[in-house]
Symmetry: C2
Subunit: 381 residues, 2 copies
Amino acid sequence: MHELVRCNGVKEGKMGLGVVVCEGNATGVFTKNKFKSPSVIVTEEHLRRGYIEGIIANSGNANAFTGKRGYDNAKRMCELLAEKLKTEVESVAVASTGVIGVQLDMNWIEEKFEYVYKGLGSGKDKAMAFARSIMTTDKFPKFASYKEDFKIAGVCKGAGMIHPNMATMLAFVFTDAKFEPDELKGMLRTAVKYSFNTISVDGDMSTNDMVLLIAKGECEVGRDRFLKGLKRVCIDLAKQIVRDGEGASKVIKVTILNAKNEEEAFRGARAVVSSTLVKTAVFGNDPNWGRVIASLGYSGIDVNENLDLKLLGFKNGCKVGEVELVLNGNGLGNEGIARRIMENSDEIEFVIDLKLGEGSGYAYGCDLTYDYVRLNSEYTT
Amino acid sequence: MHELVRCNGVKEGKMGLGVVVCEGNATGVFTKNKFKSPSVIVTEEHLRRGYIEGIIANSGNANAFTGKRGYDNAKRMCELLAEKLKTEVESVAVASTGVIGVQLDMNWIEEKFEYVYKGLGSGKDKAMAFARSIMTTDKFPKFASYKEDFKIAGVCKGAGMIHPNMATMLAFVFTDAKFEPDELKGMLRTAVKYSFNTISVDGDMSTNDMVLLIAKGECEVGRDRFLKGLKRVCIDLAKQIVRDGEGASKVIKVTILNAKNEEEAFRGARAVVSSTLVKTAVFGNDPNWGRVIASLGYSGIDVNENLDLKLLGFKNGCKVGEVELVLNGNGLGNEGIARRIMENSDEIEFVIDLKLGEGSGYAYGCDLTYDYVRLNSEYTT
C-alpha cells in the first residue's frame, strides 16, 4: 500500500484520525443501512464524479445518527484535506467508525489533522499508522496486496462478530491500474460479492460500512487479470476481519456444493456460519452437525436430506484432518474423530454437498466465545 | 391444565417421555424448517382430520434428520398410545425435542410409555410430570391458563436463546370450548402471531417446533372472547420461554410505535431484539442506544431519523424507572440515568416512536450472557 499512496494516521485512546492521498478514478460500495452515517452520505455524493484525490477517516465516533450537524461535520472533514490539496471538497472521501449518536469533536479532528497531514509519507510505517488510526476493537491492522505488472493493495478494519451484527467495516483498496469509474464499479461489486459479502451482507450492514477502490491510472491492465487480483486482495482482507472477530478463537468456513444455484449456495452458507448455535458448538469443539443441518433448513434454500457433510480442520493454514460426518443423509458416528480435529485446529470448515444442482458458495465466520460477550457488554457508549 | 386433560410424564437424565389424553377438535402451527422432524410430519398428517385423542412427546432426541426410520418411529409412538386408547393411529399427535441426527431409542420409549400410561391422571402433579418430561435446557416448567365460563390452559417448553436460533419450542394448549377445526386454525394462527412469533418466526424455526390446540367441545363460546383468552395464554407462555432463555439475566422487550404499518413494526422490533450487540449491551447494563438505532436501520423497514426512543426498566413486573434517550432524533445524554435503571431491572423495554404511520408492534428477547456461551458450547451432541 505504501508504494501506491502517501498516508499517515494517529490513534489516541479510542479516537483516531487517518489521511490517505491518492489521486485517481474511484468507486465505492456502501452500507444499505437506512440510518446511513452522514460520512457515508457525503462520500457517496462525492464519488458520483468517479474521481477523488484523498481520503480522511476517523475512528472512535461513527458520526451516525447525527443529522444536519453530522453532515456539516463530514463535509468539513473533506474540506480540511481539500484545502491542503488545493482541490474541491468533492475530491475527498470521508469515512467514520465508532460510537453512534454522538457529534464529532471537530476541535480534536482539526488539531490532529494538521499533525497527520504534516507527517504524510509513503513508508511502511506511514501505512501502519493509517491502518492503526482506523482500528476500533480490531486486535491487529489488516493489509493485503497483489502484484503482477500492476499493483493492488488494500487496508481495512473490521472486528465485531460481523454478521448478524453491525461492526463497521471500512476497506480502502488502491491500484496503479487504469480503468474508467464504471468499469471499476462493476469489478468492485463482483469482488465484494465474493469477499466482504461472504462475511457481511448488505441487509445487515452497519451505519458506516464502505469499501472504496481508487485507481491511479498509471498502467493498462486487462479486466480479467485485474479482477482476479482485486478478488484476491478483497478475500484476503475479508478473512483477516473474520480472524479478528471479537473474542474469536476459531475461524469457521462453510462451503456448500451442488446447491440449486450459486445464489442459494452462498445464502445457505451464510445461514449456517451465522447461527449462534453453530458458533458456540465450534467454540466448544463440539461437532454438533445437527445444528448445521437445522440452520441450513431454515435458510430458505432448497435442501436435500440425502446430503453429505464433512468437517475439515486447519491450523496455521495447514490441514490438520478431515472426517465425513454424514453420508447420503446418514450420520456416521464419527463425532469422536471430529472433536479431536477441532481441538487441534484454528479454522474449521464444514463442507455440505447438497446434490441438487451445480451452485457452489461459501461463507466465513468465527466462533462465539466468552470473550465476545465480555468485549460487547463492556464496550462503553 | 390438569382440569382439562389426563396426563403424565417421566424424565430420566436427558431423556423424557410424556403423554396427554384429551379428545377434541384440534389444529396446529408447525415449523417451516425444510428439515422437518418426522414427528412434525406425522403430526401434520394426523391433524388433517382436525381431531385427536391424545399426544405423545419425547425429549432428549429430536427425531430429526432421521429419514424413513425416523418416520416409522414417529408413527410407532402414535401407535403405542392409539392402541391403549383403542383408536386409529391418526388420532394421536407426536412431538419431539432434543439432539438432531440420532435415531430414537424405541426400546426405552416403549418401556417408559407403559410406565407413563399406567400413571395417567388429572392431578396437578401429573401436569407437572408432563411439563418436566418435555424440558431440555429449560430451567422451569411453563404453564398458563385463562378462565371465564370456559377454560384455556397450556404448557410449553422452550429455552435456547430462541431467535436467531433454533431451540425447539413445543406448546400444547387445551380448552373445553367448542369450535370447528377451521375456526380453531384461524384463531391459533392469530394468537401465535402475537405471542410465539414475537419471539421466534417461521423462517428460523427449529426442525421440531409445534403449537397444538385441542378443543374438547364442552361449551359454546363466542369467537372474540375465546381469541382474547387464547392470546393471553399464548403470550404468557411465550414470555416464560423468553424469561428462561439460555443463560439469560434480563428480558428485553422492544416496542415500535407509529411505524408505516403493523407488519413493519413487528419486523423492526424483531431485528432490534435479535441483535447480539443489543443483547450484550443489555447484559452489560449499557444503554447503548446507537446499537438499537443501527439494528433498526438494517431491519429493512421504513425509518425516520426524527424518532423518539425511551428506556423502561422493570423488576418482578413492577416499573423501576423510565427515561427518554432520544427525542426528535437528538440524543439527550441520559445514559447515566438509564444505566442505573438497567442495573436495578430484570426486564428492559426500548420504546421507539417512528412517527411515520399507525402501525405498532413488539418483540421479546433476552440478553446474551457468559452463561449462554457456556451452556451452548458444553451441550454435548
